[in-house]
Symmetry: C2
Subunit: 472 residues, 2 copies
């Protein structure tokens, strides 16, 4: 522990009380390793403020003592953006005690939630007033509003409602100088200079600590319809999406699944069975919803899929007859990563390219990776409608246990080069954090790196906000 | 002309050719005064690049010779943000030669337009492929995409589609160091660090020169319905909006008009007549649209207004029976400013408060202004659903010709104080430019001013991008 850290801990204990300062290593331990268990950090203390004013006080003390802070929500990030450095040179700033939903209104369609509110809690709170917060993802039971905002999280409903960037109506944050930025008033129009709200969204805690967020709500779902379709190719899957989009605005989930991934799920995941009567090279999971109780979204989707079948866009389709069938179809999609892990080693890449180019990219990139690294199996699945797929490369059956360590970096660089050549992003939704910083530095235009560094240094000249993350 | 300016003009002529450099004072003259004729500037030359590379070259030369540039589109701004300083110490950078729509796709629902494309031109181009760019405003025949983006413009359809910030899918810009930021790929998900796109939107050309913009398109309008309703109060007008919003998603325009404004229009504007059979204290203009040709939006709106009448939310309503009646109703709204000018001197304030508080604010603020400045008439009209009204204060009939000069500043400060106390914005859609800089400096929290200055200095350390605008 550095002298500065000791002084900061002492001062924080004195000003904020013992509750706000945790130094017991056993209590800290679960929060210093990233969710995927890949990056191990250390921190001599975890600070847990209970209010915006307490966060501001801690940030001012951190600046005074030159001690970096690592803001953390549910610790469910995919790029180790909330994991402290291994040398213990920073303190954890846990937002979990700031867990109040401050307000919620069906009339103004807004909620104000503190940074530590868990996504599932917000879902329930919105549901209770007949509304819905329309962003969801696998970690919904652990991830927090502050983390979701700081990473501009996406998920499976982005097609219709966008990422956090579209759903955030305003941000309250403590800036690195200890001042409080209050953007929570929920103004729909406000042109008073640069948008600090938008700058803080996706900044991974490097420009300040988000303490609360105003979020847009939408009417609750009155009915949903879930269907599965077999198609010949990713191109046909995209044709189906275009076909549906020009005829209805109800589609809010559109997930691409290769046959190969489906087979792994059927092999490894209990209580799963083939959704269609025959095998197809590619599959699509479609979810359509409506907030209008008069709108028979199931009948609409069935009719549209029938027309798509007639026009030979799809080969076959099935509509879930009830909620349990709908859940069973989603399970086939949601357990792909789990099935891959059961099968062997997997390298995941969270990438995006322009939607129109995605079908071609999936086929070409898979073929190029498999040619360059003989024996591996490459495939893409996920959010086709967002141009965002999880491009996974699996080890051959006979791969050595250290395949990941030996070949992983080369494969990732190869994939990232292909993505960059296609005008895409090497981080579609997971952010940069620690894990993608080197690749970001290698592939981003120098002007962009220069601008990011300049902004970081301008707002955080002492470098106390989440050092070693995002900015190369 | 400074030595630096002379050198920059010479170098620009040499490298870019004579077409890119205008020094004839007669050609420059229309562009050095703001649209409302309130701020008069001067510039020894107007540079008119024809490509992004030419803009980058000019910016590099400007940095080399330390000569500030004032980017300008259609010169229709309301805050003199594109008017050069009066001492001639900066050159105009006109984007009007960059006027190509680079691409347009109904499939991907995207257009890429250069900064100098006029809004009406983009509307037509989108219409030709069966799509629509859903932002519009009075200056549509002159204003440009670059200016609209740089000021985060709003307009009358924000209720449904948002401001430019929601409609911009990506920005291409030349940063102050001459590097080109290319955000045009139209990725729906991209989490590679701070969003420079979002930082440039609304930055009024102070952080770089926007050269092209990727814009979201929506399906073309298949039918629209326009109605006029009389209500007792702004609160009832908001009740009507809530009533409609929970029953349909078709409402895209919802404009509040006080009786007083309507009477001025009927008095001063030819070919206008009362929309309803009796007089009401407040009025609402409603526009509903659909892109679905099966959807009878007129019948839907008529039925909903009938129900609102039964529930005593509104006092009376009329639905336009055809396009010319619809135009006649819109004319009553669109000519309010013109009618006010005909009546006498008017002070305009483009302000916003949270939507739920707007009805109360209009009544209270009007009463307070009229009490504090005896003889004036204050009223608010406009985008109630966005929480954004034009709060206008008119001189009493007997006011001296120098009323505006004598009392204007005091009244504006009084109004801005009321807005700030209500948690609102003194610039809802017009930006800060030159005209609102002093008030912004007076009323913004010090931490915010500090952050804006730090960002400005970080990205434009030489101060060559639109100096004297936006940043206090």
């Amino acid at each position: 522990m550095t002298d500065g850290e000791a002084q900061l801990i002492e001062a924080a204990r004195e000003r904020l009380g013992p509750r706000a300062v945790v130094t017991d290593p056993h209590e800290i331990e679960p929060w210093v390793t990233d969710w995927r268990g890949r990056v191990h950090g250390a921190a001599p203390a975890l600070l847990a403020p209970g209010s915006t004013e307490e966060v501001a006080e801690i940030v001012r003390l951190a600046a005074e003592h030159r001690v970096p802070l690592v803001p953390q929500g549910g610790n469910t990030g995919m790029a180790a953006g909330a994991t402290p450095p291994a040398d213990g040179s920073a303190l954890l700033l846990s937002m979990r005690r700031m867990n109040r939903v401050r307000s919620l209104s069906a009339d103004s369609r807004l909620a104000v939630a503190e940074a530590g509110v868990i996504l599932a809690t917000l879902h329930e709170a919105a549901h209770e007033i007949g509304m819905r917060f329309p962003l969801t993802l696998g970690a919904r039971g652990s991830c927090t509003i502050g983390g979701l905002t700081s990473t501009n999280a996406g998920g499976t409903q982005v097609l219709k409602f966008g990422t956090m960037r579209s759903l955030v109506a305003g941000v309250e944050a403590v800036l690195p100088d200890g001042s409080v930025h209050n953007g929570l008033s929920g103004l729909k129009k406000d042109n008073r200079g640069y948008s600090l709200d938008q700058l803080l969204i996706g900044a991974e805690g490097t420009l300040g600590v988000i303490t609360a967020v105003a979020l847009r709500l939408v009417p609750a779902v009155a009915a949903r319809a879930v269907a599965w379709a077999g198609v010949d190719s990713p191109e046909r899957a995209l044709d189906l999406l275009r076909f549906l989009e020009t005829r209805t605005s109800a589609v809010e989930g559109f997930e691409l699944v290769p046959e190969d991934s489906l087979q792994l799920v059927l092999k490894h995941v209990p209580d799963t069975r083939p959704p269609l009567g025959a095998e197809y090279d590619w599959h699509v999971l479609i979810e359509a919803t409506t907030s209008d109780s008069q709108h028979d979204v199931g009948a609409e989707l069935e009719e549209l899929l029938g027309a798509a079948l007639d026009q030979k866009i799809i080969e076959d389709a099935v509509l879930a007859a009830n909620e349990s069938q709908a859940e069973a179809l989603w399970k086939l999609r949601d357990t792909i990563s789990e099935a891959e892990r059961a099968e062997g080693q997997t390298l995941a890449h969270d990438i995006s390219v322009p939607v129109a180019q995605m079908p071609r990219f999936i086929l070409d990139a898979s073929a190029e990776v498999e040619r360059r690294f003989p024996g591996v199996i490459a495939s893409g699945f996920g959010h086709l409608g967002d141009g965002n797929i999880h491009f996974h490369v699996r080890a051959a059956g006979h791969a050595a246990p250290d395949w990941y360590e030996r070949e992983g970096e080369d494969i990732t660089r190869f994939v990232d080069d292909l993505v960059t050549a296609a005008g895409g992003s090497i981080s579609a939704e997971h952010g940069i954090g620690q894990l993608k910083r080197a690749e970001f530095a290698r592939l981003a235009p120098p002007g962009r790196i220069h601008a990011l560094r300049a902004i970081k240094h301008a707002l955080d000249p002492l470098g106390i906000m989440n050092p070693g993350k995002l900015v190369p």
